[in-house]
């Protein structure tokens, strides 16, 4: 640390009021930064968690989302029987033809109707997504009007408790189980038997099919097999890629917005830091003169004041991160515009995000402190010593 280090640290403590205010300003900026990016992070994590590396989702060629895709009944056996598809204990292929539509349900928070995804699934669906576990109740029995609901959907929409009846598609469905899926998008959905949902929603085909591959490395040969079959106008994707792509647009919007707002806001905070550091330099002109007279080089003075400013900003950064932390895990929701239905997700603050916040605060401190530090180093020794 040395003399000069402790000197700067101690003078920061002397000016604790000013230092606290400056750090406070930086803390707010960092808090906003971390919180907005936590939204993007959470949204992305939710969608990405929906995909498994061993799974493949098959959509119509050109379809960007399940809701605008279509898959014929006759396509199903052609895909199921491919050798790359894994098989369950009963030697039946682990493949689930699915139908996704949205129904309007009122939100708990504002009572406005939202588009809640309803997924009709095949009997193997729960085996294909291995992260799915039931927290309450049991899996729906195929061939009955029973449904399962994701945990996040239960909290977000009205009337989705265990045992309650939900009316849609001219029928009444009973909720017999509530599941979690590692915070994946499935937790915002209602799941039921696809063969009952199709007539209920007056559909004649499926929309997508998800299969578990015997091994993740088989994807390429699986893809080649489907694309070379002239009867199939379909495109398989790795499930992870598909969901990552789904999150792309929304995550980009939030990131751009968050960065734009925090950047502008940070200019204000940098001005604040600059003010503080200029004042610090002015107060201590004599001391700086003394240090220079003792033989400290200009460069040492610049680095010392820069370090002081960065340290001050880092204190703000830590404060900001602490301020932002309580939002971690809060659940909220937005519409996934590629599927036009609502996805519930949780704010997600990752260590990398916190590190980003700290780095951002350090940059603010360095930018704010640079000019005042240069000014400090330029003070002529003789004049500085004379000053009162």
């Amino acid at each position: 640390m040395g003399l000069i280090g402790s000197y700067n640290l101690r003078s920061m403590i002397v000016r604790k009021g000013t230092a606290a205010m400056t750090a406070g300003g930086i803390a707010m900026v960092v808090a906003v930064f971390v919180m907005t990016l936590a939204i993007a992070q959470g949204f992305r994590a939710t969608l990405v968690a929906s995909g498994s590396p061993q799974n493949s989702i098959i959509l119509r060629k050109g379809a960007t989302a399940e809701t605008v895709s279509g898959l014929l009944r006759s396509d199903v056996p052609l895909i199921e029987t491919l050798p790359q598809v894994a098989r369950g204990a009963d030697n039946r292929p682990l493949a689930s033809p699915e139908l996704v539509v949205a129904i309007a349900l009122p939100r708990q928070t504002d009572n406005q109707n939202a588009n809640v995804p309803v997924r009709g699934v095949g009997p193997k669906a729960f085996q294909i997504r291995d992260a799915m576990t039931f927290v309450e109740g049991r899996q729906f029995a195929p061939g009955t009007r029973e449904i399962n609901v994701g945990r996040l959907a239960v909290g977000r929409f009205k009337g989705l408790g265990l045992g309650s009846d939900v009316k849609f598609g001219n029928a009444t469905w009973t909720i017999v189980g509530i599941f979690t899926a590692d915070d994946a998008a499935f937790e915002s959905e209602l799941w039921g038997d696809v063969d009952l949902m199709m007539p209920a929603f007056q559909r004649i085909g499926y929309q997508s099919m998800t299969v578990k591959l015997a091994d993740a490395s088989m994807f390429d040969s699986f893809k080649a097999a489907i694309e070379s079959d002239p009867r199939l106008y379909l495109k398989p994707s790795r499930e992870q890629d598909y969901y990552a792509e789904q999150s792309q647009a929304m995550t980009t919007v939030i990131r751009v917005f968050g960065t734009f707002v925090t950047l502008i806001l940070s200019i204000g905070a940098v001005f604040g830091a600059m003010n503080t550091m200029y004042a610090a330099v002015a107060y201590r002109t004599r001391e700086i003169g003394m240090l220079r007279a003792l033989g400290f080089s200009r460069f040492r003075i610049v680095t010392a004041f820069l370090a002081e400013s960065v340290a001050l900003a880092l204190v703000g950064g830590v404060l900001g991160c602490i301020l932002a932390l309580p939002v971690h895990g809060l659940s909220t929701g937005t519409t996934n515009f590629t599927s036009f239905s609502e996805v519930a997700f949780k704010f997600r603050i990752t260590p990398a995000l916190l590190a980003g916040g700290m780095l951002f605060s350090a940059v603010m401190g360095a930018v704010g402190g640079l000019l005042p530090a240069i000014r400090a180093a330029r003070i002529p020794v003789a004049r500085a010593l004379r000053e009162i």
Binding site: M21, V29, A102, I103, N115, L265, G268, T335, E342
Partner: protein, 383 residues
Amino acid sequence: MKFIGLVLKGARRSKRRTLLTVMSVAIAVFLFASLRAVLDGFNAATEASSSTRIVTLRSTSLFFSMPTSHAEGIKSTPGVQDLTWANWFGGVYKDPQYFFAQFAIEPDSYLRMYPEIELTPEDRKAFLDDRTGCIVGDGLAKRYGFKVGDKITLQVGIPIYGTRDFDFNVRGLYKSGGAAVDNQSMFFHWKYADERSIQPGQVGWFVAQISNPDQATQVATAIDEKFANSPNETKTDTEKQFQATFVSMFGNLNLLLGSIALAVVITTLFVAGNTMAMSVRERTTEIAVMRTLGFPSSTIFLLIAGEGLMMAIVGGIIGVSLARLIVTPDLMQAGAFIPVFGVNNANAVMALLLSAGIGIFAGLIPATMASRLKIVDALRRVA
């Protein structure tokens, strides 16, 4: 008022500091006004929605359509004067990233019921006469360089419309005469899409014109009762409610943008308050001399508080002017999401009031500090 010269003098004492403070307030006010503009933009369509139009959807959700035969049932409901319908087309222009809204509308009645779609009589006639014609908003036209006479090709987005691309002739550019209709959309003949649909005769939503806005709820209930227990049950809402569900789709924007605005204000309070405190501390001797000369402590208080207020208001004016210049639909491409986008007068006034508030709060503590100075102590202190 006579002390204004002194306040100015005080502000000029450290020009750099005053400038930095003014600029940080300006930035805060700019951000605040822009955030408000975004929020207002989202809510504009809801605010401007007509009270005499009600929207009928399938009760399941807007993903589902209903047969055209519903038109008769709705039209014959007492209180309904006029009726039109539309479908969401969801076509893809070149690439999914070039997104804009396309509506297949029943052209005659739709244009009649939405006077917000402003078209010249010639364009209107040209559009109505051309089965494959379309009209596009002037904002959208600007974004993609569409001109009257152009051909727009859309790939099918929703499988129900087959696989063949749709070609449209641009027959007119419309202006938006109210936030209920944005200028970022494309409208074309419902028949054109319907004749190629796998499942013809389907309507996404009906819009009914009602004679008395006070009866909206009764008429809506009457319509829904007509179709209750049919395979195509409906849900009818006011246009306002219909628009509000779209706004709420984005999530809790009010809370998100509100929290950011609050953080902006707090940050600025920290910065401005800090500066004022610093400048008071620096001027301790000066203030003591003024007190000795006979300035009452209340004047000192006003001088310091006035300085804070002045800096904040100057910053506020700069911030608002910047926001007015920059946050306009031309410069900020908010795309199809925010139809009306700009800092209106109410926003500007609010932002200015905010800056004044910041000035008052930031100056309060330093001004109190200054007015409470003990003359003897202050005179004795060295810088």
